[in-house]
Symmetry: C2
Subunit: 348 residues, 2 copies
């Protein structure tokens, strides 16, 4: 029914071992023999049996990429960059690896299950992107899993995620705290003193770090934060819309709104407009990430640009063993403040 290595061997009049060696190309095979084998492969339309190969060789060519939300360009862009480096087909040199993107939906359980699934497949490498959930037991479970993966020879890389000490994982971390601080300082510099903050979901490292940066900036400038100035929500547009309405309700005198990310900021803009407020004349708005659409918002969004593509590419190369891990196995990647039209001096 299906063509096997043995069939090819028979056709080429060589042993299965030879066919295997031709296909894997890590053992001397005479040119004429190789030629003959290749022809047989072609004629028979042979396709290697992945599982069998992985079993025998005790390795597979699967590389897992875990993302929190594949529908979010933040992850899409990183995944794309990672995958480009992993190779998949068309990548640069190296064996062909199947880079697979796994969507955890931000759920700790799914994250764990995917890791198990990848472990089960004996993945060659795993890249985890984006913020982690801070729930202690879960974090411990993930750490344990990562260690096990690393021990089993799977290269583990964290991209845009805080380091996981003692797991053997390489971490490329975004400086969310620094970015958050810089952003808010920019606003304060413009004269804002009453700033609302729309945070992401609680218990997420990204959420916490950005918020900490924001608060550090406030504190550094002697601004006492009103507890009502912070609202938590999801990392999407709708959440930003609702949260902004809530902020306005709590304190109509706010002159600036800082959002957890660009999507949230867009929702905030919509809410402000719907409330009859002008941006930035009445209220300034700032986002985070600098996703492609942010520059097209009207006014264009002041935000912190994160080098998503570059970080992803680097993570991909490290996962493939094509680039040295950073010293200490941890690298911090800084964002860049992008001042655009959505931020300006406060009214009055």
């Amino acid at each position: 029914m299906t063509v096997t290595l043995a069939d090819v061997a028979a056709r080429a009049q060589v042993s299965p071992a030879t066919v295997s060696r031709v296909l894997n190309g890590n053992y001397p095979v005479a040119a004429t023999t190789r030629e003959r084998v290749l022809r047989a492969v072609d004629e028979l339309d042979y396709v290697l049996n992945g599982p069998a190969s992985a079993l025998a060789a005790a390795t597979s060519d699967l590389v897992g990429i875990l993302v929190n939300d594949i529908a979010d360009p933040f992850f899409g862009i990183m995944a794309s960059a990672i995958q480009a480096e992993i190779g998949g087909p068309g990548g640069r040199a190296g064996g062909e690896r199947l880079a697979v993107v796994c969507n955890t939906g931000g759920s700790p359980e799914r994250e764990l299950t995917y890791l198990t699934l990848l472990q089960r497949q004996r993945a060659a490498a795993v890249v985890l992107t984006g913020g982690a959930v801070e729930d202690a037991p879960h974090a411990a479970a993930v750490a344990a899993k990562l260690r096990k993966l690393a021990d089993a020879g799977t290269r583990v890389v964290l991209c845009g995620r805080p380091p996981a000490p003692d797991t053997g994982a390489i971490a490329l971390t975004f400086d969310n705290r620094g970015g958050g601080r810089e952003l808010t300082e920019h606003l304060i510099g413009l004269g804002h003193r009453r700033l609302g903050y729309i945070a992401g979901p609680e218990e997420r490292t990204t959420t916490r770090h950005r918020l900490e940066g924001h608060r550090a900036a406030l504190e550094a400038h002697g601004i006492t934060e009103d507890p009502g100035w912070t609202v938590h929500g999801r990392y999407d547009r709708q959440s930003g819309y609702e949260a902004t309405l809530e902020l306005l309700r709590r304190d109509p005198s706010l002159t600036a709104v800082v959002a957890a990310n660009d999507s949230v900021a867009l929702g905030a803009c919509a809410a402000l407009r719907d409330s009859g407020l002008r941006i930035p004349e009445d209220v300034s708005v700032a986002g985070f990430d600098d996703l492609p659409f942010s520059i097209d918002a009207v006014p264009s969004l002041t935000t912190v640009r994160l080098p998503l593509s570059e970080a992803g590419a680097r993570a991909g190369r490290i996962a493939m063993g094509r680039e040295e891990p950073p010293p200490g196995e941890i690298a911090t990647i800084r964002g860049e403040l992008m001042v655009r039209g959505s931020s300006g001096g406060p009214r009055k």
Copy 2:
């Protein structure tokens, strides 16, 4: 070193066969035995060897999702919906399947290679999303591959992609032609007579169908199209920006610009604004897809909404055998015209 089935069996004092049966749960095992085995699995922290299992059982739990550009929300949204249904971990019932997203980058070769890789992994199902490349030899190669996959028992579903006759693939197709026509008719209805069109890359089914719809509308209303009114480009914002500038150069009297998709439309809006033109007073703009950010554009984008999530979910269910394929194995999914602020009557 690694824990195997045999280790678990030894620990639980049963045969490997029994352990396997407990794990797969399709054979009667006494409750107490099962209990004992499960405990051993737990204590040993056993993880099934996927390749070995796939080899022995001649099936795997991998499901491939091919997308043209994972950084594009169009695909991200579909992939997300598909994956949610495939299960992956956390999906509803059914065995746990590893839904993997493969990024072809729109390249025919990579598409083919990914299909081979999935075939090699003996994937349980494959979902191909988005438009296909129209290059004849390539189309034939893909068709052949799909047939082979289907023959090997892999369920093949096309989502947002034209049918592939005689391949055994189920197709859920978007009515791009109808949507394109409706959109342009809306513009014509507003009084526009000189409409620019920014098409996607040539040789893509999606590009062609949308353009055909546009032209059908023009023709139906007796409008003779100027050859300079159409510009081809990529499906991204920058391309839209450049193409719009080009259109304006060719014919400054255009009163409307129809874009291949929303990202392109956003780029078009930016170019128009930068050229000192107001939307829609001077030029109306229309997009396609209705991605989440489209409603936040200023003015919000008139576009054709495609039920990406719904289609993806359905494709996922069909791929899992959880929903009946449509009669004739082909279903056409219509878009819905969303009239918003970016379209209005022409000036004068």
